[in-house]
Every structure is written in structure tokens, then in C-alpha cells.
């Protein structure tokens, strides 16, 4: 019976063999296209591999590192650092609160199961109101996409124009940018809720508001809280960078000190930034654990949403503190954050604000479609793409090298494992593990824009510095994610391979890669999308790409050109999303072995039973 089956498998193989030539041709074609694309990216990013090995680069970086020490710890400066750090924190808190306030109502409108399709819609004839709401719902979703696609620094620049320099601009920028992120996530969480609950309530004649309140919200709330806290972590990082464009906080001080060559101050500020980010991460992890609300790390793409899980057990806020106290503290913290960012300060935030925003928007239209201007955007646009692609590739190389020793399951031997265990070997493993983790953390915690400034010291102004900066930061981010992925790999297939006598390299190639491929690809592609957005703004500090054009046109007040730039960025991000989805859905592209049987088995070699 098996021989027949085998022959039929073979004959289908032969049938395919005519197609094989075509497939090979196509594969060759795509390989050539890919190489050409990469070479172009390389050219546009102006990569000069030798530049980092030139004596001037080493001198530049060395002078910088040398000048970092000792950090400036004078009491006067420490007061400045503390104020800046607190301001960054306030911007992040106020920004998160505003983004929730904007994002949540819009997310309810954007939930497809409530307004567009599904059990609530099926039975109804589409009335005018219904179609209107459905259209609004779709439009809201598109709006979220737009809010997210425009980088937060770009929003920051616009708000600096509208409300003036200072932390209000930064807060509003975060609010807009993250309401797009959170709104989309909220809407997806609401959509994922079991539709049977909706149907049951709909059946007893509940209104949509009641259905949302009784069926959707209770199920969604753990994920909502988890994602909101996670997004607060991201906001802290983002807030620290916003200062680079004058939107207040620690970034402003870093930029200032860098430009005044006071590198000792820079080190103090960066250490303080470390502390802020690490502290926020720790607190948020603690709160999330207490709430038992899990989030798949790093928003695991849009498709990872189903994995959000966990329900709050017991009282929502805390088991040890009375909830009134916690509520009071929360209100106080939020109130402080709005006070500290200057929202109650009539100088920067007054009733004239809406008018100024409207005036700015009206000045942005009609967009400037002068062909000369459009042509001048082409090179920076291509540079931006080149920076993001090559930067991500550099990041991947760094993270592959560092994530393997940073994964505890790979570097350490199981405490029960067979064979000799020397304390010397164990110590060496610990040292390698800790240094890999340390390097990853440093790479990750320093924002891209700071890396750009450092890289400019080494290789000069231009896209090359931006590419290196993206590469270094991405290396840290992806390295941590990769290491976590390796640690979460299912242990049984790996154990079986090891029991076969597989070497560590073989386990990586034949075990880890096929097991973890989808996750690793998803993280990497997601990071590339982020990097593309980042590389549109690197030019603000001299890292090449569209950023320079954005900065110049905003400074010069050419708002009609800014509109065009925003449109270009939006189109670029949409295209990237499309490419990224295409890559994510084709894991076959990343298969290592090309296994086909037909070329190997001659008729005479067919196994006999």
C-alpha cells in the first residue's frame, strides 16, 4: 500500500518537474531583484564600510567617550536633571491619559462588530443611520492609521508651531500619536470578544451601548489595561526624545548638552534616562503582574492580539491597598502631570489654542505641488528607505550575535544535564551572558536620535550616521526580543535533537529556526516598520532622509509643503505596511533547506518493500 502511495507522490513530483524550471527561473528573478534593491538601499544610505575604521572615526568616538567621564554631578546640574526627568515623566503620563481619553471613545466607534458587520448587523436592513455609522466606523479606523503613521516627532514639530515650545506640545504630540496606537489596539480587542455574548444580549433587545458595557467591556478590560500600561512604557521612551525638537523634558537637555560639547552632562542625563526607563518598566511589570493582565511582548504585531489573555482576579487595583487610596494617588499623579506639563499655565495653554490650531491647519492648504519641490523630495525619500532597510539589516546582525549568548536557555546548561559541569565553565558562561545582556540594554535604552549624534562624531553628518544609529538601537531592541523568543522555545523537540547527538549549531538550524521562525520574522518586520517611521525624522539632527526637509519647511513656515511631506510619509508607511504583511504571510520565503525529492530519486532507486 505504501509503495503505491509513494509512486503517486513521485508521479506528482514529475508532474511538477516541468514547473520546476519555471520556479527556478522565478526564484532567480526575485533573487536578482532583491540584490538590486539592497544595493540601491546601500547606495542611498551612503554606506562607507571603511569610514568607521578610519582613524578620525576612532578619534571622534574616543574623544566623546573620554569626555563623558566624569559625569557632571554638581548639585546645580543635578537639580536641572531631576527637573527634566520629572518633566519627561509628566509628559508621558499626561500624554498617555489624553491618548486613552481620545482613543477609547473612538475605538468603540471603530469596533467592526458593533457597527460594521457581525451578529448585530446581520438581521437589520441597512438604514441611513446604520450606513452612516458604518462609514464613520471605517473612517475612524483609517484615522487611527493616520495618527500612527505620522511619527510622533512630526506631530511634535507641528504642535510646537501651534502652541509654542514646551512640554504642552510634547504632550499633545504623544496624545495624538498614541491615541492612534491605543485606539487601534482597543478596537481589535473589542472585536476579538466572543460574539455569542453580543448575540445573547442583542436577542433580549439591549441597545448597542448596553451591549458594549455588559458584554464587551468586561471581557476586554484585562487586555485593555495591559496594553495601556505597556503603551505608557513606550510613551516614556518617546517623551524623552521629544525634547530634541524643543518639546521639553530630558531630550531637550541632552540635545543642549551635546551641542555645547558638555559630554559630562550628557552622561548624567543618559544615566538618569536609564533610571527613568528601567523604573517605569519595573513598575509597569509589577502593576501588570498584580492585575494579572498579560500582554504579548511588544504588541506582537496586529496579529498577535489574540494572545492577550488573563483575567483580573480579585479587586482590580490592589489587594493590599484600599482602592480609595489607590484612586486618590492616581488622581493626584495625573493632576500633577498636567500641572507640570503646563496645561494649567495660561501662558502656554489658553483659550486661543483651538484658534491657533485651526489657523495652522488652514495655512497647510492647499498643498504645494510645485514639481521642483516634489523632485527635490525624491532623493531624501529614497535615502529614508535605504536608511531603514540597511539599518534594520545591521540591527539584525548585531542582535543575532548578541541574542544567542543573552538567552539563558542557550548559554547555560540545564542544571540536570548529563556530563561534566565545571565551575570554571559556569563562571565563563555567566560572564558572557551578563555582558551580552548589558550591551543589549545599553544599545536599547539610548534613543535613536542620541545614537545619531554619537554616530555623527564618528562618520560625519549624513544618512550613514542615521543608518548606523538605527542599526545600533535596533540591535538592542531585536536582540532582547530574540533572546526572549529563544528562551520560550518548546523544549521537547530541542531535547530530542540533542539526544540524537545534534551540535548547538544544528539545534539552531534544524530546531530553533523552524520552531521560532514566525515569531522572529514577525518581530523583525514590525521593527522594520518602526524604523521606517524613525528614519523619516533622523534628519532633524543630521542623520539624512526626509527629516531635514521637514525641519526646514516647518522652520521657514512653508506649511503647504509640510502637508505634502505628511502625505508622502503617510503613503510611505502604508506601502511599508503592505510589504510587511506580504513578508509576514510568506514564511516559506525564509525556509533554510530547499527540499525536493524528485531530483534525487531515479526510478531504479525507488525503495523496494
Amino acid at each position: 500500500m505504501t509503495l503505491n502511495a509513494y509512486q503517486s507522490a513521485r508521479s506528482s513530483d514529475q508532474h511538477n518537474s516541468r514547473k520546476d524550471n519555471l520556479v527556478t527561473l522565478r526564484r532567480l528573478g526575485s533573487a536578482v531583484a532583491l540584490s538590486v534593491a539592497l544595493i540601491l538601499c546601500w547606495r542611498f544610505a551612503e554606506i562607507r564600510p571603511t569610514a568607521i575604521f578610519e582613524p578620525s572615526a576612532a578619534t571622534g568616538v574616543w574623544t566623546f567617550i573620554h569626555a563623558l567621564f566624569p559625569p557632571d554631578l554638581s548639585p546645580a546640574f543635578l537639580r536641572v536633571v531631576a527637573a527634566a526627568t520629572l518633566q519627561t515623566l509628566a509628559i508621558a503620563i499626561a500624554g498617555t491619559v489624553l491618548s486613552v481619553l481620545i482613543g477609547l471613545p473612538l475605538a468603540i466607534l471603530a469596533t467592526p462588530t458593533l457597527w460594521q458587520r457581525g451578529v448585530l448587523i446581520a438581521g437589520e436592513p441597512p438604514s441611513a443611520t446604520q450606513s452612516l455609522l458604518s462609514g464613520l466606523s471605517r473612517a475612524t479606523r483609517a484615522l487611527f492609521g493616520f495618527f500612527r503613521a505620522v511619527p510622533d516627532l512630526m506631530w511634535g514639530l507641528l504642535f510646537v508651531v501651534a502652541v509654542g515650545l514646551g512640554s504642552v506640545a510634547g504632550t499633545l504630540a504623544l496624545a495624538i500619536s498614541y491615541s492612534g496606537v491605543l485606539g487601534r489596539v482597543y478596537a481589535d480587542v473589542f472585536e476579538d470578544v466572543d460574539p455569542r455574548a453580543l448575540e445573547a444580549l442583542h436577542g433580549v433587545g439591549a441597545s448597542r451601548f448596553q451591549i458594549f458595557l455588559r458584554a464587551i467591556w468586561p471581557q476586554a478590560v484585562p487586555s485593555i489595561i495591559g496594553y495601556t500600561i505597556y503603551s505608557f512604557e513606550c510613551c516614556v521612551r518617546a517623551a524623552s526624545v521629544l525634547g530634541f525638537i524643543g518639546a521639553g523634558g530630558i531630550g531637550y537637555e541632552i540635545n543642549l548638552s551635546m551641542r555645547m560639547f558638555s559630554y559630562g552632562e550628557v552622561l548624567t542625563l543618559i544615566l538618569s534616562l536609564f533610571a527613568l526607563v528601567a523604573g517605569t518598566d519595573a513598575i509597569s511589570r509589577l502593576v501588570r503582574r498584580r492585575l494579572n493582565a498579560n500582554v504579548p511582548s511588544a504588541f506582537l504585531a496586529r496579529k498577535g492580539l489574540q494572545q492577550a489573555r488573563g483575567f483580573i482576579s480579585g479587586p482590580i487595583w490592589s489587594r493590599s491597598l484600599p482602592s480609595a487610596t489607590v484612586a486618590l494617588i492616581t488622581v493626584l499623579v495625573i493632576g500633577w502631570s498636567f500641572y507640570a506639563t503646563g496645561f494649567f499655565n495660561s501662558g502656554s495653554f489658553d483659550l486661543g489654542l483651538p484658534g491657533r490650531v485651526v489657523r495652522l491647519i488652514s495655512e497647510m492648504f492647499p498643498p504645494d505641488l510645485d514639481p521642483g519641490f516634489l523632485r527635490s523630495l525624491l532623493l531624501p525619500l529614497l535615502q529614508t528607505i535605504g536608511i531603514s532597510v540597511i539599518g534594520t539589516l545591521i540591527g539584525i546582525s548585531i542582535s543575532v550575535v548578541l541574542s544567542l549568548p543573552a538567552a539563558s536557555t542557550l548559554i547555560f546548561r540545564d542544571k540536570y544535564a548529563a556530563g561534566r559541569n565545571s565551575w570554571f565553565g559556569q563562571t565563563v558562561r555567566w560572564l558572557i551572558y551578563l555582558s551580552a545582556r548589558l550591551v543589549l540594554n545599553v544599545l536599547r535604552s539610548i534613543p535613536e536620535l542620541v545614537w545619531v549624534l554619537v554616530c555623527i562624531l564618528a562618520v560625519g553628518l549624513g544618512p550613514y550616521a542615521g543608518t548606523l544609529a538605527i542599526g545600533l538601537h535596533t540591535g538592542g531592541v531585536l536582540g532582547k526580543l530574540y533572546a526572549e523568543t529563544f528562551e520560550e522555545a518548546p523544549s521537547q523537540p530541542i531535547e530530542a535533537l540533542r539526544a540524537n547527538g545534534a551540535s548547538p549549531l544544528q539545534i539552531l538550524i534544524w530546531g530553533m529556526w523552524p520552531l521560532l521562525k514566525p515569531t522572529l520574522i514577525s518581530y523583525t518586520v514590525l521593527r522594520w516598520e518602526t524604523n521606517l517611521r524613525v528614519s523619516t525624522i533622523l534628519g532633524l539632527v543630521g542623520g539624512g532622509g526626509l527629516g531635514q526637509a521637514i525641519y526646514n519647511n516647518i522652520q521657514l513656515g512653508f506649511y503647504q509643503r509640510v502637508t505634502v511631506l505628511i502625505a508622502v510619509i503617510y503613503a510611505l508607511v502604508l506601502t511599508t505596511n503592505w510589504v510587511a504583511d506580504w513578508l509576514r504571510n510568506r514564511p516559506v520565503l525564509f525556509n533554510l533547506a530547499r527540499l525536493r525529492v524528485s531530483p534525487y530519486l531515479k526510478e531504479s532507486e525507488a525503495p523496494q518493500l
Binding site: 500500500m1 505504501t2 509503495l3 502511495a5 509513494y6 503517486s8 507522490a9 506528482s12 513530483d13 511538477n16 514547473k19 520556479v23 540536570y416 544535564a417 548529563a418 556530563g419 561534566r420 559541569n421 518548546p490 521537547q492 523537540p493 531535547e495 530530542a496 535533537l497 540533542r498 539526544a499 540524537n500 547527538g501 545534534a502 551540535s503 549549531l505 544544528q506 538550524i509 534544524w510 530546531g511 523552524p514 520552531l515 521562525k517 516559506v588 533554510l592 533547506a593 530547499r594 527540499l595 525536493r596 525529492v597 534525487y600 530519486l601 532507486e605 525503495p607 518493500l609
Partner: protein
């Protein structure tokens, strides 16, 4: 002696309390022997397996493989020792996203040099691909060579695990419930196959079995485990009903799954699974 275990104990130190899986376990196995391990669930059979294939280190006692003491082996020695031991695990031990053929090829990993690994990663060698197809043919999975392992049914996955071991061509075969999810006729075929494989080339076979009938028919030597030590160790001919009843009745586990019925009905999932071939485009 291919295996020589002397007072081997294995304790897991969990956060609450130490759990003793094996307690002063002593036995020797000669080359060419076929040994069935019997005993209710949770008596340390799986632990014993992981000790025998050198993935676990004993807490105390001496475990020698072909004369070499396992606990003092270097990584390199361990690797060459593991290559000589093939393990058929209970379940979940295949790489789910690799095809059946690729999983079978994994049996050869222990033989590959660094260069060969790189080469095989890009394009596995003709000879090994042919061997792998033969192995799949032997277990009746040749038509599924192109299916991902996780698209196969439980029984098919079990057979694939056997194919991987055939490919490995080891001196010792350790099998943890190798026939658990197979239907009776297939169980018969594969049991005879394993036995033939072992007898013809003087290999050693150690298997845990839930199903006493199969154990008594195919394995000349029976070792019964109880509470981490040997309850009895004797030729299959001398094992009688009373001894088996004593073995299983002392453990509450056995009341839920009587040994005579275990493994009989599980062939139900042996339906022909539909899979989408992934390796031709």
C-alpha cells in the same frame, strides 16, 4: 555490557520539596537484549529514559554506557555517545514546522560535520535524502514526506519518530511508549519491525510499555518499576498474572487505566489526515 547502572538515584529539586524519581536503581543490559519496562505512570520510567540517553545526569550512583562513565563525559564525548543511542519519545518531540522528510533527516544530525551541516542546510545530500525516503517507506509514511509534522495524526507522528530513529541507525534504541497511539494492526507491524531491526544487527532495545500483552510477546526480558526502584526483573516467560496485578494495583493510577485495555482504543485518530504539501511550489 552496553549499559551498567549501579544504584542510580535521581532527585528533582523543586521549589517545594525534593522529588525522588529513581531510588538506587540497579541493572545491566547486554548488547542485543530486548527489555520492556513495565509499571504504572509516574514511577520514573521517563526519568530513566532521559538518564539512559544522557540528557539527564544522575544525582548519585554510576551510569556506564559501553564502559564509559556518563557523568564525567565532556560535551564532545556526550555527543558521540548520543549518536549511538536512538530515542523514540512519547509525543511532541518532533519539530512541528519541518516536513516529515526533514524530521527524518534530523536523525543524521549527530553524524554531520560542521561543513556538512552548512551544506545540508542549503541542500541535503542525495544519498541521505534517499535513505530518509526509505525510512519513511518502512513506516508507511512515504506519501506524507512533504507534509509538516504537525499536520500528521498522532499515530503518524509516532511512526515518523520511529523513522527518525531508523535514519539514525543507532546501537541502542530507547522507546518510550512507541506504540501508544497506533491501531492494533499497525502496532503489530511496527513491533515486528523494531524487533527485526534489533535482532538482525545485534542492537539493544529498551522500551516502556503500557500494554502488557505486547511486552510479553516481543520482549524476552521484563523489568517492572515501582516507586523508583526495581520491583522484579526476569524473563518474560516467568512473569505471571499475580505479579502484574500486584504491580499495578498498588498504584491508584492503574485503577483508571487497566493495563489490559490501555492502548487498545487509541487508534481512533489514525484516520488519514489531510495535509497541504509544503515543499513543492
Amino acid at each position: 555490557m552496553i549499559y551498567s547502572l549501579h544504584e542510580v538515584s535521581k532527585t528533582y529539586f523543586t521549589s517545594r520539596r525534593p522529588v525522588e524519581a529513581l531510588n538506587k536503581f540497579t541493572f545491566d543490559a547486554r548488547r542485543g537484549e530486548r527489555i520492556a519496562l513495565l509499571g504504572p505512570s509516574g514511577v520514573g520510567k521517563t526519568t530513566l529514559f532521559r538518564l539512559l540517553n544522557a540528557t539527564l545526569r544522575p544525582t548519585s550512583g554510576s551510569l556506564r554506557f559501553d564502559g564509559g562513565e556518563v557523568s564525567t563525559m565532556s560535551v564532545r564525548e556526550l555527543r558521540s555517545m548520543r549518536r549511538r543511542i536512538g530515542t523514540i519519545y512519547q509525543q511532541y518531540y518532533l519539530v512541528p514546522s519541518l516536513t516529515a522528510l526533514e524530521n527524518t533527516l534530523c536523525g543524521r544530525l549527530g553524524y554531520w560535520s560542521f561543513l556538512h551541516t552548512i551544506r545540508s542546510t542549503l541542500q541535503p545530500s542525495k544519498e541521505e535524502t534517499r535513505l530518509a525516503m526509505e525510512a519513511l517507506e518502512t513506516v508507511g509514511l512515504a506519501d506524507k514526506y512533504c507534509c509538516r509534522a504537525d499536520e500528521l495524526s498522532g499515530g503518524q507522528q509516532q511512526r515518523l519518530a520511529i523513522a527518525r530513529v531508523l535514519m539514525q541507525d543507532p546501537e541502542v534504541i530507547l522507546a518510550d511508549e512507541p506504540f501508544a497511539s497506533l491501531d492494533p494492526s499497525l502496532k503489530e507491524t511496527l513491533a515486528s519491525l523494531l524487533v527485526a531491526l534489533v535482532v538482525n544487527s545485534n542492537r539493544t532495545l529498551v522500551a516502556t510499555l503500557h500494554d502488557v500483552e505486547t511486552a510479553l510477546r516481543f520482549f524476552p526480558r521484563i523489568i517492572a518499576l515501582h516507586d523508583g526502584h526495581v520491583a522484579f526483573d526476569m524473563p518474560a516467560g516467568k512473569v505471571n498474572r499475580a505479579m502484574l496485578d500486584a504491580l499495578y494495583s498498588s498504584n491508584s493510577e492503574s485503577k483508571r487505566t487497566p493495563p489490559h485495555y490501555a492502548g487498545q482504543w487509541q487508534g481512533a485518530d489514525e484516520s488519514d489526515s489531510k495535509c497541504v504539501p509544503v515543499c513543492t511550489e
